[in-house]
Structure formats: C-alpha cells, structure tokens
Subunit: 263 residues, 5 copies
Amino acid sequence: MLSFEDSPIARDGKVLILAYDHGLEHGPVDFEDVPETMDPETVWDVATHDAVSSLAVQKGVAEAYYPSYEDDVNLLAKLNGTSNLWMGEPDSSVNWSVDYAAEVGADAIGFTMYGGSNNEIEMAEEFRKAQEAAREHDLPVVMWSYPRGQGLKNDKKPGTIAYAARQALELGADIAKVKYPGNPDSMSHAVNAAGPTKVVMSGGSKTSDREFLSTVKDAIDAGAAGLAVGRNVWQRENAAGFLDGLEAVIYEETTVDEALSRI
Amino acid sequence: MLSFEDSPIARDGKVLILAYDHGLEHGPVDFEDVPETMDPETVWDVATHDAVSSLAVQKGVAEAYYPSYEDDVNLLAKLNGTSNLWMGEPDSSVNWSVDYAAEVGADAIGFTMYGGSNNEIEMAEEFRKAQEAAREHDLPVVMWSYPRGQGLKNDKKPGTIAYAARQALELGADIAKVKYPGNPDSMSHAVNAAGPTKVVMSGGSKTSDREFLSTVKDAIDAGAAGLAVGRNVWQRENAAGFLDGLEAVIYEETTVDEALSRI
Amino acid sequence: MLSFEDSPIARDGKVLILAYDHGLEHGPVDFEDVPETMDPETVWDVATHDAVSSLAVQKGVAEAYYPSYEDDVNLLAKLNGTSNLWMGEPDSSVNWSVDYAAEVGADAIGFTMYGGSNNEIEMAEEFRKAQEAAREHDLPVVMWSYPRGQGLKNDKKPGTIAYAARQALELGADIAKVKYPGNPDSMSHAVNAAGPTKVVMSGGSKTSDREFLSTVKDAIDAGAAGLAVGRNVWQRENAAGFLDGLEAVIYEETTVDEALSRI
Amino acid sequence: MLSFEDSPIARDGKVLILAYDHGLEHGPVDFEDVPETMDPETVWDVATHDAVSSLAVQKGVAEAYYPSYEDDVNLLAKLNGTSNLWMGEPDSSVNWSVDYAAEVGADAIGFTMYGGSNNEIEMAEEFRKAQEAAREHDLPVVMWSYPRGQGLKNDKKPGTIAYAARQALELGADIAKVKYPGNPDSMSHAVNAAGPTKVVMSGGSKTSDREFLSTVKDAIDAGAAGLAVGRNVWQRENAAGFLDGLEAVIYEETTVDEALSRI
Amino acid sequence: MLSFEDSPIARDGKVLILAYDHGLEHGPVDFEDVPETMDPETVWDVATHDAVSSLAVQKGVAEAYYPSYEDDVNLLAKLNGTSNLWMGEPDSSVNWSVDYAAEVGADAIGFTMYGGSNNEIEMAEEFRKAQEAAREHDLPVVMWSYPRGQGLKNDKKPGTIAYAARQALELGADIAKVKYPGNPDSMSHAVNAAGPTKVVMSGGSKTSDREFLSTVKDAIDAGAAGLAVGRNVWQRENAAGFLDGLEAVIYEETTVDEALSRI
C-alpha cells in the first residue's frame, strides 16, 4: 500500500476524480445533452480546476491530450473498459498496459472489477498483474469496485457495497470507488470495511446541485475520502462553479449551504 | 497519438487507403467480375497512383510484392483478418505480428475491431498489444471499426457508427475506418465523436462513378479525412482514371462535376 | 520438500495458522458479530500472540499492515481467493504472485485447491507455478485442500478428506489444511495419507471453548501438526486467553481441562 | 516469401512431397494393405528416390530416422497433426516447435489449416507464429489448406479449393497443398488464386497407375508446381518404379503414356 | 529420439517401471488392501530391487523421498496427473515442470496422453512442451498412451492400442506405456506400430502370480520392452520375491515356471 497522502492524486488526504471514459462505456449518447462535451478538450479544460485531483481517461484520450495538459492535470490511466454493445456476463478488456501508461505519464492507475460476475476470476487475475506492475512504477491503484452479474439481484444493497469496498482492500487497491449505498450509515459501513483503503463515492447520473452536494457531504461525513464524478460535473453549464462547490464540501468540509454559495 | 500529418500514409492531412484483403475476407469470388484483379500485381500497380496514400494487404501479399514496390507504394499492414467460411460470433485472427510487419517495411498498421461482438473483449486486448507495439515502431494505427454481433440488429445506424468512431479514439487508433452512415450529418457526428482521431469512410460494394464520388465528397465535406476503398477502384476498367477523380475530390476538394471531368 | 521443522512458520514442529481472509471469501458479514474485527489491526494484534505461528492474509491486507508487524508476526501469503458473489464450479483467482509475496516479506505461501471441481485441472496448474516459484524463494507451501464441486456430494466424508490430504502430498505441498473429518480415526487416516506432508485441521465456524479445544486435542492426538483457525479465535472476546488454551493443547499437548484453565 | 526455386525442397521449380504422417492422422489401419509400410524405414528408403523433393513426417519419426537419412532425404517437418479418435470441430495440435524442427535439421515446415472450422481463428494464429518463426530460420512453409467444418457442406467444391489456395497466399505460405478440385479448369483457377504461392495437389486414396498419373498430369498442365502424395506411392508394390513415372510427368512434363512406360 | 539402451532407466534394453501415483489418480482407497503401502517409504524400498529400472512418482513424493534414495532408485518424474473426483472429458494437469524435475534429479519424464479425449489437442501441445524441454535435459520420455473419451466406446480394442502406440512414436516419445490388448498377436501389432519407440505393457489391477507372469511373458515374447506395474507388485506381501520372478521373465526371458520358482 502506498502512502496515499503523498501521492500526486491526493490533496490534503482527499480526492476528486473527474471521470471521462463515457465515450467508451456508453458511447457518444452520453454527450447529447451538452454536445460540446464530446470534444475531449472541453473536459480536459474542466479538469484543470484545482478541485480536480485527477482525470480518469482511456489510453487514446490520454495519448492525444495529456502532453498539452501535463502541467495542469494529474492523469489517472483507466486501464480497462468496454462498450455496452455486446451481450453476456460483465467483463472489461484491458486496453492499456501499465508500462505504457507509465510511459505516457500516468500518475495513477484505474481498474474496473465486476465482483460477482462469472468473469470475476479472470478479472481479478488481470487486476493482480496491473496492481503489481503499478507497484513497480510506484503508482497508486484505484479500483472501480462494482459488483454485477448473474448472481447479484441488487448491486446497490448496502451489504454488497461494503463487500465491494472490502474486496478492494483485500486485493490491494489504494482507493475503492463504489456506488453510494443510499444513506450515510451504509456508506460508513463500506468505509470501515475498506480499512486503510480509501473509499470514494461514484457520482452516477445528473441530479440537482443541492441534491448532489448533499450526497457528497453525507459521504464525506461518513468517512469517504472523496468523489469520482463525471456527468454531474461536465454536463453542467457552469462546471467550474460547481467544482468550486465540490471543493468546499470535500476539501474544506463546509456545509452544503456554504458550498452552494460558492457556485 | 502520432502526428498524423507527418506520417508517411498522409498527404496534406488526407488519406486514401486502397484495400486489397478481399481474397482472405471473401475469397476469390470477389475477383470474378474483373478476373485480372485476382493477380495481386494488378492491384499493386494501381496502388502506385499518386492518389493512393497506402495499400492495405495481408502478410502474404506484402511479403511477395512489397519488395518490388517499396519505392512507389506505402504499406499498410493489415494485421488481422479471416475467411467467411466459419460460423459464430464475429472474430478475426491476428495473422501478422507488428514486429514482423515492421521488418517487412510497413508504414502503418491496420486492425479490425468488431465492437459489439461477444468476442469484443478478446479483440480489444489483441488491439492493445498491436497498438502498443506499433507505438514502439512509430507506426500509425488504423482501426477498421465495424460494430457487428449478436447484440446489434443494425450496424449502420448513425448512433452505432458514431460509437464505432469514438471507440477508435478511446482505444488509441490514429485513424478510424467506418461505414458511411447514410448522410452527411451522421458522418459529421461520427467525425466529431472521434475527436482528434481521423475518420475515413469505407467504400463498400461497387456503384456508379457519380454516386461514389458524391458520397466521398459528402464525407469529406462532413469532416472525413479520406477514404478506404477496394472494389470501387480496382473493379473499374479505368482504375487510374477513377483515382484521378478521387484525388480531385479528396485532396483538392473539387466539386463532383470537376472530379468526373478528370476521369 | 522443505525441512518443516526449520521453517519460520513452525514452532517445535507444530503450527497454528491464524486465518484472516474472510473479508474476501465471505465479505464483511463475517465481522458482524464482533464489529471491531473488521479492522485488520485488531486481528494483527491478536496474531502477535506467541501461539500464532503465522497469519494468513490476502495481498492488500499484507501490504497495509505487515510493515508494522514484521518483527512480531510471520506472514503466510494467501495467494488465491475469491468472493462468494458469483456462480459456477468452484474456482479461485490468483491474486498475488509469489515473487511479489516474497518481496513483501512472506514467510510461507498459502493456496486453495478445490480438488473435484471441474476447474481442478486449471487450479492444479496454477498451484504448480506457485509451488515451484515458492521453492525458488525457499518458502514453505500450505495447501487449503478442500474437495468441492459437481462430482462431490459430501465433501466431509472421511475418504474425501484423506484424498485431499494425499493430493497435497502428491502435488508438493509442505502442509495440508483439511476439514476435520468428524472423528479421530478418520483424522488419523488423513494424516497417514499425507505421509511426510504435515496436516492441520481447519477451524470452521464458532463453537464453545470446550468443544473446540476437544476437537483440536483429538486432531493433535491423531497426528495433526496443528490448526488453522479464524473465527474461533478472533470472534472471541478473549482471543488472547483462548490462544493460551490452544497453545497448551497444541504445543504442550496438555489435557483439555488443563488448557481450559489457562484461558 | 522465400525464393521457392532456390529452396532445398524444390527441383527445377517443382516439388514432390512424400507424406507419411498417416500413423498419427488415421492410425495403423492405413498400413494394413501393405504391412511393411508400418515400418518407417520402408518409407524413408522410398523417399531417397530422386523424384522425392521432401518427406513430410511428424517429430517422432523425424527424430528417429532423419539422422540416418540426412544426406539423402530433405525433411519437411509437419508441425501439427492429430488423431481421428476425438469429436468436435476440426482442429490440429502443434506437436513440434519450429526452433526444434530447425535443430533436428528441417528443410521446410508443413502446417495444416482447416479454414472454415470454427477453430480457424486459433489455427490461423498458430500458423502465424510458425510462419514467422520459419522466416527467422529461412525455412519455406507449406500449408495443407483443407477447408473443413460446420459451415462447409462440400469441401471439394472448386470455389472452396480456390479459396483455400488464396488463404495460403494471404497468410504467407510459400506452397499450398490442396485437394484436386476434379478438373483442370478448377485446378487452374486455384493456381491463379494462389498467385505467387505455389500450389501442389494432394494425392488422396489409392487409384490405378494411369488414373493417378493422368490426374497429376492434368494438375501440372493446369499450373500446379507438383504433388504431395502418400498412399498412392508407398502402398504400391513397385513404389520406386511409380516414382519414375511421377518424375517423368512432374519434372519432365512427359505424356502419361511415356510416364507409364518408365514404371 | 534418445539412445534408449544408454539411458539410465534401461537395463539390457529392457525396462521395469514401478508406478506409484495411485494416491493422486485414485486416492488412498488404492492402499486399503495393504495399508502400509500408503507410506511412500514402503514403496521406495521396494523400488530399490534390482529388477526395478525406475520408479514413477508425482512431484511431492519425489521431493520428499528421492534425496534419500538417489543412489538406489532411478527417478521417473510423472509430470501430469489428476484426481478422479471431477467430471468431464479426460484431461490431466501438468503438476511439474521439466526444468524443476531435472533439478530434483529426474532420470526420465512420464506423461499421460488421453488420445481420443476432446482435450487431446491441449494435451498434445502440453506434451510437445514437455518432450522438447526433456530433450534439452537429455531425459528420455515415457508416454502413458491411454485412448479415452467420448468418441471411444472400447479403449482396449487391439486397433486402439496399436493406434496409441503409434501416436507415441509420432509425437516423439521414447517409450509407450499401453494397456495389454488381450493377446500376443495384438501386442505384437502394437509393438510394430510403435516402430523404434519401445512399448511396455501396463500392469492393471491385481491378479494371481502365474496369471500376471504369463501375461508379462506373452508381452515380452510379442516384442514389448518391459512392464510398468504398480499394484501387482506393491500390493503383494512378498513384493521383493515377485520382483525376482518378473526379473527372470523380463530380463532373462525365462519360462513362467522358472520365474515362479524364483519367487
């Protein structure tokens, strides 16, 4: 386990990961509401905001833009990912080797694990290779820990989210990205389950300013180390302002009202 | 991402890929209308035309002919491909290692991705290895991005074509070869989805001179960087003349009438 | 085969393995009765007791805590393991390479083998690689030998337990961890089947002090080299006291009454 | 592509491959009619005839006999092959690495490809590795190109044979061994489809002297570079005499009557 | 092919392999009749008899005992093997790498091939790797050639046994271990089919002294190079005496009566 506090993707022991791999996972349809977000440059610009401690992208988007943003954005290399076009048990292809991610300049590694998928065995072994290669490069590892598959009826059950957080610890992730389990107690349970592995809540689809900030505030109060967010930031007209609000809630631990006043 | 403009397979930022792997993908039946095209030499000669920025062939055809044409033709090494004789979800075998392609003299790498196939995971991981090996040799990578498989009812839907173009960007291709989605707006959408990855339209089966040039013109106007074409060139009696027409439309961006006058 | 007596995980030719990988295998639900055991530190502290000859954990828990406990705890690196969320024939992912386990400081290697699973072939080949890599690092190998799968109706039958013990010998494990087959004669049979491979009984779910110590006493008398135990230790309020009792039964071979008096 | 004419397995640009891997592919039953052919030495002796440009055998037969015949026989190392005892889509195991074949003294490499099998993808990728390794050793590559599988109703259709010949070219074989498609025109079509890859006809089961020589004559006249033959030679009492006849037809391009007079 | 006569596991061109991997293949149940045979030391002691040219064991049994017997027993490292607990087409896991077997001190390599299994392709490729690695270490290779699987109704048919013997030759085994096909003529046919590969008959379950010696005598007279035997030796009270009898029949080619008189 790396010293999280000293890693480039942490700020005062907190993290705000801006995720932008929707073009692969969901396709261009995710950019329809705010068409300019289809252009990666728009989101890289958003990622230069001080509140963003790293930007998570796939290899192609990193190769094309990171050289122009390396002084202003920390790169979280999302190693695996897949389209939503095919059928079958959840799985994800490893699209980027850790060695090449390091060469491109990655500050951290991201990896999706579908615990509970009938492909869990294979995914865990791919994670092993990625995690151990990341250790050689002194790169922290973030696990998108999303239980999903034939054996799971409800992947947002508090017990499942806590299991997901624990799985991240057991397998050697430094940070676990999990769905928000619906209430602060359940979030706190997940944070405890992860022990020394930091937990960040996953943003999900777009909601109102107050609703989103309140949920983030609840997660932080429950012990989360931060937030991984995509559409809830870059689908907003005033993304920079909203990041001011998130910065307040996450790093300064202000009230939601105070955070709303910063937007 | 490589600087596309500086690569040997671009001319003034545009490309015209002549594809000649039909003997593997469809078999000799594709040469029946113009029997002399079964002889690769015929097509290599066509490829010496200035309008052709690279010729895409499988390993065996490159080994046998490239040594005689290396001064006049840029070689696009098509890494994978398969016959149409077997049954099952779309897949393609990697018939050529990047190291050996580089040794033979390849100027660029081509790779088919059947996004949406239940073999997408495996194909994407093969693409990863090929793309990263190509980076070591400073070779640009062209993805034949063709969604196809059990989960896809209509693989020419505009949304699907745009997704295919985006997938090429996310996975690290320099150029995406996609089917023409039927109208300029949809093509423009695909071009936007690909961001900095250049998009070329795929030629398809043979049509009239005017019809084909008009479609190419529409694609170029919609932002495409060019064309990948096979039968529509080498099944024509006057292939060289037709390439004069394509040269006009693609590199000089003339009207279709002007281009037709050059044939 | 390594000289078991000289290995760091043996004490006077006996072993008491404290197992703590339940967070991965069963999830946080295993910690519900004694919530503080969800915090790995609690269990690492328990493991500093003299009776514990090694602590078996997954990679993530080792990375985070072993550096602080390396003077007081012997590390048994549990290489494979999986969640209970997915469906299908028993299998387990290799989450830790032996080389990296050695780098972290492992004193021994642990590996689950589901003999009888339709995945036995694959698991045995993974075991081969792990065992041979462990030999290069002079690390003893403990096999969790748990027959389980479509072909097995009753995995606690004495004949099955003896087969499991023998399989550990044949495949090259130094220690076989098997379920207690229900009576001393059957345990003795398993011990004989394992020949020079040491056999330790697996603890199972929590029972009363006397019942558990009596079973351990029976196993030791039947020739077992010790015990691998998890919940029966760290789910007890007085874990240290209970370890005093186990120490008496295992290392001093006292009566159960004498052992109970030490608690 | 290697210069076929300069390779050790060609004589005046022609080839006669004597095949003797029937013991693996069909079992000892193929030797029943002429029991002494079960002894490999009998066939190695036949292979010393000047008309035979190479002998195709599996690894074990090469290891045992080639050292005694290396001055008199060119070795075509048949890399893959399998028994006919199992069930399922056509496939073939790689029983010999190219490196070891070269070490044993191979003059060329042989590889079966079942195009059209649902295992085509895997077989083509094994062929890739073998072909590229053969290039490193400057060994010519012969593909036994035999379409076969669920998707093929008639594997001797002229179109299928031509596709098989073309597949050999596209994938990088120097020589394609195909079934005789029944008439000279179809053979000529296959030869044309293979372009610079030489085509040899496959012998099949035993027929009369005149019938076999006539077919070979037709194939040669249609452009075939020669013949691969097994049972039609070594199941004949007068194998040496029959080879005299084949030598006339193949290398001297005599009439069938002239060839028959040489027997 | 190695010079069999010069190999350490041959004596005057004959072999008697004592097999002791039943603990893995069948489980401890095979030791029930003579319980002391569960202790490997008992069988290693039997193996010191002059008649035994090698002892075939799995890795774990070799690691534990070979160091004490290396002056008196030749080690035949049985590379693969599996339990009989699982379900599906015949297969066997490779439990020992050749490099490590050589390091432990193996004098020869043993490998089970289930020709006819739907896993034959995979097993043959594993055999290839083992055989070629054995060549690098100058170790002779013994194939347990046992056709078995969905496509085989009767795996003791003479034609099947002869095919098994031939497969061993074709794939590069120095010795083929096959079931006795029921009569001397069929055994002779199998011996002929194997050509230069030596054939040894497999012992099977326990029978009377005279019956077993008679069968061995028939096999030797039919050209077999010896015997591989397990239970028929070590399940006998007077194993050493029975080995005296086998020594007479195999190495001195005495009559059965003479051999019986030596017991």
